[in-house]
Symmetry: none
Subunit: 96 residues, 4 copies
Amino acid sequence: MTDQSNSDATPNIGIGRDHLRAFIERIERLEEEKTNIADDIKEVYAEAKGNGYDIKVLRQLVRVRKQDTNERLEHEAILDTYMHALGMAPDLEAGE
Amino acid sequence: MTDQSNSDATPNIGIGRDHLRAFIERIERLEEEKTNIADDIKEVYAEAKGNGYDIKVLRQLVRVRKQDTNERLEHEAILDTYMHALGMAPDLEAGE
Amino acid sequence: MTDQSNSDATPNIGIGRDHLRAFIERIERLEEEKTNIADDIKEVYAEAKGNGYDIKVLRQLVRVRKQDTNERLEHEAILDTYMHALGMAPDLEAGE
Amino acid sequence: MTDQSNSDATPNIGIGRDHLRAFIERIERLEEEKTNIADDIKEVYAEAKGNGYDIKVLRQLVRVRKQDTNERLEHEAILDTYMHALGMAPDLEAGE
DNA sequence: TCGCCTGATAGTTGCC
DNA sequence: GGCAACTATCAGGCGA
């Protein structure tokens, strides 16, 4: 099935209709999930607001915490790099 | 310190520490989920690319399909608005 | 041609004060124009309202007309992309 | 002026087709102008970037300056209000 | 008038 | 490294 003898450039014309469709539907499915979660987040913010919290401040808190996390990871990555460069095992387990 | 006698306006100082923290963690949990799904989407695109599809084309297809949906919704909204403007019940049921 | 001899790193300190100022003032001038036009638009809506038109409907009309235009452009873009994907010259001239 | 005797609710059905069209076209014309100016602004930013300025910083400068202006106007407005409340002529003369 | 909700804008990320 | 698409944030308009 789907023996696409594409000897030349043109990729997947006609043959792969269902194939293509499958990819698109997978993507659409995932995007819908993503949208749902985004809605959930909005709901949480709304609920927090209903409890007297300032949404703008909350957003900032979340942002800052994420930033901190990223920086921490960044630092660890740098450390890893150095240790690699020095020929030491980077973390506990052997990488690569 | 931080004797939480909030008999008056200032909302949620001290008391709501854990309360606040709970909200933030719920949000962070959801955002992580969202990120994971975004990554999944990227993987699907990558897989499609590996099967010879042009990512740009794929994105456009997905975008257009979504746009069509939105347009349909928009048209329904317009109909609603017109019926409002004409003083008819818009969406409850077909009156008249 | 940036003939400012910045022998070291720090770009445009001191020298470009007026230079910078000129850019900012150009931007501010344009932004003011933009604001004025936005106000004009509001006036037109207000006038239309005074003539018995429903502002919401008007906005929707304008929005839909713009969307139609965008969609047409998008379709052209898709066509271009497909032709690219098929290895044909997309926009050099109208073939067929 | 406005000789359309709309004794009942339905506003301007049929009569005002060209009338309506005129409003819409005025709006569209203005919106196009606005878009053009927005593009001009982008160009200025691009040019500034080409001269070695950091766009993000520029934006901040513009924003802060606008903020300052707004605050100044705000303060003047407050002053006006006070003078009104005190029964003094508030804005006849520009002075300070 | 207040709160929601949509549209505009700034920032980020990914592709070329 | 520049450019374009996408996302998140913010502000103004609308309705209750």
